[in-house]
Amino acid sequence: MEIRFHGRGGQGAVTGVRLLSTALYYEGKFTMGIPMYGTERRGAPVQSFLRVSDGRIYERDLVHEPDMVVVLDPLLAKTVPVTQGLKKGGLVLVNHPHGGLETGIGGPFKVATVDATKVAMETIGRPITNTAILGAFAKVTGMVKLSSLEEAAHHQWSGRIGEMNIKAMQKAYEAATPAVDVSKVKMEEVKLEGRARKAGERDVSSWRLYRPVFNDAKCVGCRRCFILCPEVAIGMTNNKAVVNYKHCKGCGICYEECPTKAIDWVQETI
């Protein structure tokens, strides 16, 4: 059994794979969790892989034809070809607020969903969705027991952080929607996020969970956000701050720093 995880830097795709492989090992399986490392940073699309077997695993290449795909971010399917190589009839588990038919993923596959971002915000207080999606994984696939995952989480984190993550697993276990056939859904072709030729050409709008909304009436033109924005996404027009949403990753520095509270912090919706 081979599983591919799609996430963004900071969502815990690597730790998620470690937790799942630990839990599966508790149940007597042999596992191999393979992260893809590069010059990744928070928000950038990342992948990791998991092999599960009854015997020792020797194959050490990457997973190219997974039996299952887990997507930790609702917008990722629009920028990364998440179903590439997925076997026919394979399962896709997506972090998405709606049901399997509304995720935009189509083809000869089954799609199950869970609103892992909502669960993570309620339990952990941050959009780190790995443990929530694992809870749903246990429910949808039946491959691993929730109790084994909880044990693995205890092993990974002691104290309060472990408790919060276990709560996320339990909540997502209840909230997961069952897998539905999506062979009738037509999927838009996804082009890989290519390397931008010039700095600033790359569209990173799908990286953010929150967007800054500027209130011109309150903006006094102090230029603090303009100076502090690490992505140079904020410009000044007529002495008022204007944001270029294509380049905004949603880091929240402008929102924190604005002296007149002229910026609202609005959650992105799908």
Binding site: V17, R18, S21, T22, Y25, F30, T31, M32, G33, I34, P35, Y37, I57, Y58, E59, R60, D61, L62, H64
Partner: protein, 392 residues
């Protein structure tokens, strides 16, 4: 499970080697993909799990030099690095061998061209006189690290040793790894004792150390001849230590020098090392399931090169497909050259085919290795194959 296990990455397995071997001096400089080794060791030292002097140096040159001097002064020492860091260690590495300090180094392969793994870093240090062992799994990293101390510190050897794994592929891959019992490891690996006294309280009145250093009063070439002899002795010692490890912990890696996988009555073998050998097992299983008579010889020890093992295997097969994750530009692959060299002593020589795979971190998949196996088999059956050197 009778033993303590944990799902962990190869780099953490290295930290457990340091803990279990009761290393007393650690100096290392972080470099991707070795960085988390340094982090895990620092954690363990801070938590009191490792009772050692832990020195953060300003670079690999000092890391190597201080670990070498600590070893010379009489404590068990450790260092770890990768790729360019290993190159920066070159000069003190020669000094370590020259002074016969049995230092142990963990190496996570990182190429010279980019960040991705290949063995060109280790190849660049081929002539430093360090022993070199290659691993194919996280478990093997832990086991080889413990064996490395025992081999290096053996009276007949007393040479420094590198135990290596492919960076990223092993350093960051999570696998279930058995952690041996501390008491058992203590029984396997007795405390370190230096044989060349350096400090006055070790009885350093004799000028033995200085004499060796400057070859005073004897043939200037003697120390080289002694080191060569020690390297020859190491072949026997590695076999013994591997057998003893297998007896105590139930895990062994071939005979310590090479491991034969499904080579009974085969016409051809592929020769591979490291993680490529691990994936090659899957390829061999599939080839033999189709009735294709190809086996695998896994090279475990690069230095001392086990020429005798290949002289033993050579006459039994008609062709060898030799895979190198390295190249000496102008000469070809490391193992290819060594095996061809060894075959000069053999009357009935097999054909030898050269493959370069996995350089600069290129992924080596099962189907690539199946193709290598098929091509080698074709050569074994007498067909002409081209090109003689293939970049997979």
């Amino acid at each position: 499970m009778p033993q303590k296990f944990e799902v962990m990455v190869g780099n953490k397995a290295v930290a457990h080697v340091v803990r279990l071997a009761r290393v007393k001096f650690i100096s290392a400089f972080p470099i991707t993909p070795q960085t988390t080794i340094v982090q895990y060791i620092a954690d363990m030292v801070a938590d009191g799990e490792i009772d050692a002097e832990y020195v953060n140096t300003e670079g690999e040159l000092t890391a190597q030099a201080s670990a070498f001097t600590a070893g010379a002064a009489g404590v068990r020492a450790f260092t770890a690095t990768a790729g360019p860091g290993l190159l920066y260690m070159h000069h003190p590495m020669l000094a370590t061998r020259n002074n016969r300090v049995p230092l142990v180094m963990a190496l996570m392969h990182r190429g010279i061209k980019g960040m991705d793994p290949d063995q060109t870093d280790m190849m660049a240090q081929r002539e430093t006189g360090w022993m070199m062992m290659e691993c194919e799994s996280g478990q093997e990293i832990l086991d080889t690290g413990l064996m490395a101390y025992k081999v290096a510190e053996d009276e007949r050897v007393r040479l420094p040793i590198i135990f290596a794994g492919d960076g990223y592929i092993l350093s960051y891959t999570d696998e279930p790894i058995d952690i041996p019992d501390e008491a058992k490891v203590d029984a396997f690996l007795p405390p370190y004792k230096t044989t060349i006294p350096l400090l006055p309280d070790q009885g350093a009145e004799s000028k033995a150390y200085q004499m060796r250093q400057w070859s005073v009063g004897r043939d200037p070439q003697t120390s080289f001849a002694e080191d060569q002899q020690a390297m020859e002795n190491a072949k026997k010692v590695i076999k013994e230590v591997n057998a003893e490890f297998k007896k105590m912990f139930g895990r062994g890696y071939g005979n310590g020098l090479v491991e034969e996988y499904k080579t009974k009555d085969v016409d051809a073998v592929i020769v591979a090392a490291g993680t490529i050998a691990s994936t090659a097992r899957v390829a061999i299983d599939r080839l033999q399931a189709e009735g294709k008579n190809v086996g695998l010889v896994r090279l475990k020890t690069f230095k001392p090169f086990p020429a005798e093992e290949f002289q033993r295997i050579g006459p039994k097969v008609k062709a060898m497909g030799i895979i190198d994750r390295n190249i000496s530009i102008g000469s070809g692959g490391w193992t290819y050259g060594e095996i061809r060299n060894a075959m000069y002593e053999v009357e009935e020589r097999p054909k030898t085919l050269q493959f370069h795979a996995g350089l600069n971190g290129k992924e080596v998949r099962v189907q690539d290795l199946i193709k290598i196996g098929e091509k080698t088999l074709k050569a074994a059956n007498g067909s002409k194959v081209s090109p003689p050197v293939e970049w997979v």
